[in-house]
């Protein structure tokens, strides 16, 4: 479904990703871990098509199409969803209207009619319940004055409504307390299916306890330097990233 080959990307002339490759098949959950500054969020931005990031080398294929040819909004409509690390507050745009606009744009792209008001509200209600999202948040301005947990739940709620093929969770666990983490993880797990792949970008093991990834990759200095099963996350949690760096040095000197 997603095939990243030897991607190099930079922002403001600064090279961040230096030959990253990754293959994700439908239904798989991949965790990407790594120290600060290793390029985790850059990967998320490059996938989502943030314009400030420049891809200088490599290819990304998404469902057989060249992802890099698409604009940010087209990628979303093709079924890519980025749950933001810092969801943006947008005063004056209600959460409901925002999701309605997003959903209808996607449906238009798929050649479908806009959802009628009743079906739309039913869908919202159902997904809001899944994320234990207070309905009053839906009529409020998007993310404005939301707590950290509410913002992250709102991201997963949007994911649930838009029903993407590939979701990237960019440090969705940061700033969440235990209860919010549990709700978010439950939401993600409910939406896990054989067609929906998920990339979880995180610093910590704790979200992975809930999500049980199929693969764990360690990103250091713009490259995936180690991949393994979910036990790799536990090892990282216990030993820190230094042991990977040590291993790398040994490889270089060996």
């Amino acid at each position: 479904m997603l095939s990243i080959k030897n991607i190099h990307a930079s922002i403001e002339e600064k090279q961040i990703l230096k030959g990253l490759s990754l293959d994700v098949k439908p239904g798989e959950v991949h965790a990407i871990m790594g120290p600060n500054g290793s390029g985790k969020s850059t990967l998320a931005s490059v996938l989502a098509g943030r314009e400030q990031y420049e891809v200088t080398e490599g290819q990304i294929e998404f469902n057989g199409k060249d992802l890099l040819e698409f604009s940010t909004e087209e990628r979303a409509k093709e079924g890519l969803f980025l749950a933001f690390q810092y969801p943006v507050e947008i005063p004056g745009v209600s959460t409901t209207n925002f999701i309605k606009a997003a959903l209808n744009e996607k449906r238009k792209y798929q050649g479908l009619e806009p959802l009628d008001a009743a079906s739309f509200l039913k869908l919202l209600k159902e997904k809001a319940a899944l994320l234990e999202l207070d309905k009053s948040l839906l009529s409020r301005s998007l993310n404005e004055g939301f707590s950290g947990g509410e913002k992250k739940r709102n991201e997963i709620f949007q994911m649930a409504v838009l029903d993407p093929k590939l979701t990237i969770l960019d440090e969705t666990d940061s700033g969440l307390d235990i209860d919010a983490l549990r709700i978010v993880a439950k939401g993600v797990n409910t939406l896990r299916n054989e067609d929906h792949a998920i990339i979880v970008i995180t610093h910590y093991q704790r979200l992975l306890n809930y999500l049980q990834p199929d693969f764990v990759h360690v990103l250091v200095d713009g490259r995936i330097v180690k991949s393994g099963g979910k036990e790799l996350a536990l090892e990282l949690e216990a030993k820190g990233y230094d042991f990977i760096k040590e291993e790398l040095k040994e490889t270089v000197t060996a």
């Binding site: 989502a48 098509g49 943030r50 314009e51 604009s71 940010t72 909004e73 979303a76 409509k77 980025l82 933001f84 969801p87 943006v88 947008i90 005063p91 004056g92 745009v93 209207n97 925002f98 999701i99 606009a101 997003a102 744009e105 996607k106 792209y109 301005s141 949007q158 838009l162």
Partner: protein, 436 residues
């Protein structure tokens, strides 16, 4: 004066000789003497630094002397939908036209010509309240309005009247034959415990230029409630200088919303004079401009007594070559302790050739007050734009949603549904979006 304005002398003489013995004769004379003394404001005048209005007068404006007939279809098509059912006051070329207006004059509401009011039952009130704006706005434009007052109105909302339909000042300027200088003038007295909403709109019919130079004085007494909504969506050949001078002479509530969407050169003065303790006022403004439109909002809140509250929020979106000015004055007089006065001016520039000059001026002579002001000038929030696009919303729609939301904070302050929907419709059309 470098600008040729001989035609103003001639027009003034014609008006005065035509209306010998008219009750406004003396005031007009005083006004014109003042105008002759100070002339049109130049860019050297600090209050007019960014609004070069004098050059407009190089055109020979015609000052309308006689009342004219107008096709009723023009009245209907230029009205705010729904507002025609309000107390509909039609002003043609600056003069109140009883013939085209439809007003429920009950015991609660008085609408009559100013000259009739001053020579009849309301003489005392008119003499007491008329012309005080001159003490605050001391420029030639204001004096010129007084010079050419004709077809001016006196309005009184009587004590305790809270059920009166809004007063809709529907201005129509006929410029099919000449460039037109119109001088609408009104005095509104809102008595104790009364409540009124005033709506104004402006329409120029014809290809020549209009200059509407308006002064509205409003006097508000104890426990009264006044809303003033000014909606400007006239053509690029329509210029305007307007003053709403509002005196809170009793403890009362005032709100103004000034919406400017299209026009030539526009200057809006909104003055709130808080003359007793505990007054409250809210001033809102939205200028959403394109082309070469220039909009200058000057506000004044004069806190003369303690415990007053005021809040102002003016927001601007400027595209193409449009230019904006915001100048907000807050005075806190020495006796006016425990004042809360807030002022915000936020601007979004959509093009490199649009500009805004914003200037807060706080003059505080009391020591126990809370005053704040803030202004921002920027482009559309890139983070927000990216967030919307990352959800599949195309760039143009995302921009429109953000601009609409930015404007909405002001538009939502319009408390009359039909007027609010009208403004929202104009904004949607500008943004080329359906309702979102």
């Amino acid at each position: 004066m470098d600008i040729h304005t001989d035609y103003l002398d001639k027009s003034f003489d014609s008006l005065q000789s035509l209306q010998q013995g008219n009750a406004l004769h003396g005031w007009r004379k005083e006004g014109f003497e003042e105008f002759k003394k100070i002339g049109l404001p130049s860019l050297k005048n600090e209050e007019w630094k960014y609004t070069g209005i004098s050059s407009l007068f190089a055109k020979d404006f015609t000052v309308p002397l006689a009342e004219i007939k107008i096709d009723e279809s023009i009245i209907n098509k230029s009205a705010i939908p729904g507002a025609i059912d309000f107390n509909h006051l039609v002003f043609i070329n600056g003069k109140y036209s009883a013939q085209y207006s439809k007003v429920d004059t009950t015991d609660a509401l008085v609408v009559c010509s100013l000259d009739e009011a001053v020579s009849g039952a309301y003489a005392e009130e008119v003499r007491e309240y008329f012309g005080k704006s001159r003490l605050f706005i001391k420029d030639g434009i204001h004096a010129l309005n007084t010079s050419f007052m004709d077809g001016s109105v006196f309005i009184k909302i009587k004590k305790g009247s809270r059920e009166i339909k809004p007063l809709y000042f529907h201005h129509i300027f006929d410029t099919t034959q000449n460039h037109l200088l119109a001088s609408p003038r009104s005095l509104v007295v809102v008595e104790e415990d009364a409540q009124i909403q005033i709506v104004e709109s402006y329409h120029t019919e014809g290809a020549m230029d209009s200059f509407s130079n308006e002064v509205m004085e409003i006097v508000v007494k104890d426990n009264a409630h006044v809303d003033v909504y000014k909606i400007q969506n006239d053509g690029p050949n329509a210029n305007h200088a307007g003053t709403a001078h509002i005196r809170q002479i009793g403890k009362c509530f005032v709100q103004t919303v000034t919406i400017s969407l299209d026009g030539g050169m526009i200057r809006n003065n909104t003055d709130i004079i808080m003359e007793v303790a505990g007054n409250e006022a809210h001033m809102y403004g939205l200028y959403f401009l394109k082309g070469h439109t220039h909009v200058d909002n000057h506000t004044l809140v004069d806190n003369t007594k303690p415990h007053c509250f005021s809040n102002e929020l003016f927001k601007g979106i400027m595209d193409d070559y449009s230019t904006g000015v915001f100048s907000g004055k807050i005075y806190v007089r020495p006796d006016a302790q425990k004042i809360n006065a807030y002022q915000t001016n936020n601007n979004i520039l959509l093009s490199d050739t649009a500009s805004i000059n914003t200037k807060p001026q706080l003059e505080i002579f009391a020591d126990d007050v809370k005053c704040s002001h803030g202004c921002t000038v920027g482009r559309l929030d890139e983070e927000a734009l990216y967030y919307l696009r990352a959800r599949g919303i195309h760039k143009e729609l995302a921009k429109a949603m953000l601009l609409k939301a930015f404007a909405e904070e002001v538009v939502m302050q319009i408390k009359i549904d039909s007027v609010k929907e009208y403004v929202e419709g104009l904004i949607n059309a500008r943004l080329q979006i359906e309702d979102i």
